[in-house]
């Protein structure tokens, strides 16, 4: 639990003249707080099953100009039809190959702060939020004014490459004005061999706003990926989240939703495919702060080899949040005797007129179903793959956009196919 490694990097950071000095007070405040709390240990309730010593003991350095690509990165293999893409390579914005759809305003961090009258969005759900505030280096603020319907999706493509132990702390703000709608994709790719990304995303949905948020974490299996997602929803807003995680050595998604306005609704869908000694942790909290708010969590994991996983899902229904509905479903399939899943679905209810359900199952391939498929002439290998794809399809089907669905499905089946053959 040594912050000292990070202290050296922090001083370096403050001396970089290309970072706006206006953020320094926030950075310093966050770092001081982080020095007090330290990194989480497994004695912390929310971190019981996740060991972050690779991060806390690691010697990750901030990204230098030399970590930026020497030539324009080739993003052809990540093509998505009809999608505008913003590229960030090892923390460096690649303006030349980036584009944004009409109707979207892309602001820098300081421009965004100005827009918000000097307010700086912060969260303090975990030490990693603080770390991100202290080290924020790259990122984007995506702003939609009210009554703006943007049809073509916007993607931020995060590429992590190289062998140097670098750390990047992207910070993304997504601000959707009243009655506006957008599809936002964040895709994490690359073949870095020692890389730590600590990403914070702040999403604000105005009244009746709608956001589809697709998160694809498919970078190499050697990276440390922490993702801190904060979602604040006003009345009648709708948030559809879909996540596919099949990359990173340690992946942790902290998803915290505040359903602040009446009739706000969020649907959190996540699919994990892990192998070797990958460890993927999904920690989800949905706060029902208002009446008639609705949430669902639909989280599935497929675990191979000695990989491990965590599902920690909570729905908190606050006192005055009557007539809400909250659903939690967690299903895990273990394809190896040594794979391990820790599941903890929780409901915390302080209102009395609510409809909540939760459930979690972990098991192996259903032998009866396997025999059924084989008895129809399908060989065992294909039958198993058919069943695993079927298991995944229930989540993949929730992806709102056909082109994105196709891309995610292709990514998933290619990885699965390699694992099953």
């Amino acid at each position: 639990m040594s912050i000292s490694n990070y202290k050296v990097e922090f001083e370096k950071m403050l001396n970089r003249n290309y970072f706006s000095k206006s953020l320094h007070p926030y950075r310093k405040e966050a770092f001081t707080q982080l020095e007090k709390t330290g990194f989480p240990t497994q004695k912390w309730e929310n971190w019981r099953f996740t060991n972050v010593s690779n991060i806390s003991d690691g010697e990750f350095m901030i990204s230098e100009i030399s970590d930026a690509p020497q030539t324009t990165p080739d993003i052809d293999s990540y093509q998505m039809e009809g999608v505008d893409t913003v590229v960030i390579y090892n923390g460096h914005y690649q303006k030349d190959i980036s584009s944004i759809p009409n109707g979207v305003n892309l602001l820098s961090g300081s421009e965004y702060m100005e827009r918000k009258n000097g307010n700086f969005d912060r969260a303090n759900n975990s030490p990693f939020d603080l770390l991100n505030t202290a080290f924020t280096d790259s990122g984007m603020c995506i702003v939609l004014e009210k009554n703006t319907l943007v049809k073509s999706p916007i993607r931020i493509l995060f590429i992590s490459n190289g062998d140097r132990s670098i750390m990047v702390n992207p910070r993304v703000n997504v601000d959707i004005g009243e009655s506006s709608s957008l599809t936002f994709i964040e895709q994490h790719v690359g073949d870095a061999t020692s890389f730590f990304q600590n990403e914070s995303v702040f999403i604000t949905l105005g009244d009746n706003a709608q956001l589809n948020h697709v998160r694809i974490q498919s970078n190499s299996e050697f990276t440390q990926n922490i993702s801190n997602l904060n979602i604040n929803q006003a009345a009648d807003s709708q948030y559809e989240f879909f996540q596919l995680v099949d990359g990173s050595k340690l992946g942790r998604s902290d998803i915290c939703v505040q359903l602040d306005g009446e009739n706000a609704q969020c649907n959190i869908n996540s699919l994990t495919l892990s192998k070797n000694n990958q460890h993927i942790d999904n920690n989800i909290i949905v706060n029902h702060n208002s009446a008639q708010t609705h949430s669902s969590q639909f989280v599935k994991s497929i675990l191979f080899d000695t990989s491990t996983g965590v599902f920690n899902g909570r729905a908190v229904v606050h006192e005055n949040a009557q007539k809400i509905t909250a659903q939690q479903t967690n299903k895990n399939i273990l394809l190896s005797k040594k794979a391990k899943m820790n599941a903890n679905p929780q409901l915390e209810i302080y209102a009395d007129d609510v409809k909540c359900s939760h459930g979690s199952t972990t098991g192996q391939i259903d032998e009866e179903a396997l025999f059924y498929l084989q008895s129809r002439g399908i060989n065992k290998q294909d039958a198993m793959e058919l069943m695993v794809v079927g298991f995944a399809n229930e989540v993949l089907d929730k992806i709102p956009h056909p082109e994105i669905k196709k891309a995610v499905y292709t990514e998933f089946t290619a990885k699965l196919n390699r694992l099953m053959s």
Binding site: D366, F371, S375, R376, G377, G390, E394
Partner: protein, 252 residues
Amino acid sequence: MIKIENLNVSIENKEILNGISLAVKPGELHVVMGRNGTGKSTLANILAGKEKYKVTGGSVNFVGKNLLEMSPEDRACAGLFLSFQYPVAIPGVNNMYFLKAAVNAVRKSRGEEEIDAVDFLSMIREKLKIVALDESFIHRPVNDGFSGGEKKRNEILQMIALEPKLSILDETDSGLDIDALKIVAQGVNDYRSPDRSFILITHYQRILNYMQPDFVHVLMNGRIVKSGTMELAKELEEKGYSWIEEEMVEIT
């Protein structure tokens, strides 16, 4: 078609089938009746290749091959089909996708070309009519949320799509209302031909009002204790099984 000789099967050291012998010729429909727990479903499952059973003696020859040495998928490809008593739901696997995978697996094993999506759809549309199911049905996940009758009709749909030589129908009539029963029976009757055989396992004589069996066998204590024709089924419906037990006591 199939020749079962002195088949002995146990599960966890408990003997379930105790020397079954049964020969079915091409074109024949055999009915196997018997009380609960006499080994009827075990017989069906062992023929389809379910793993949890242990064969302790006897042999099964299917179209000239040693059936007991084959994997479930090879049996299916060789032309054996089991209509399950309890068809399994497979959430997330589209019925059409599954059917196409199955049909193509069987075709491939016969050295035939795989059927493409367009031809498959027109083929399956025809077969759907036979089992009186509408097209939306094949776009749903396999057996997931299907009613009892729909599941059984889906089994018959698979049978007529896979075109097996021998179909084993394990209580395909159980839990069906009279309309569904007629549809299932009609599906089987339409599929009958001089080179296709059937083993129908049932509790009730009811379905035999719509089908003409060649032979009726009574299974008791893991053995076939009596064989006859349609008349035997009628007698069982009237008198139950105890008279056979008494008859057996007299013999021994």
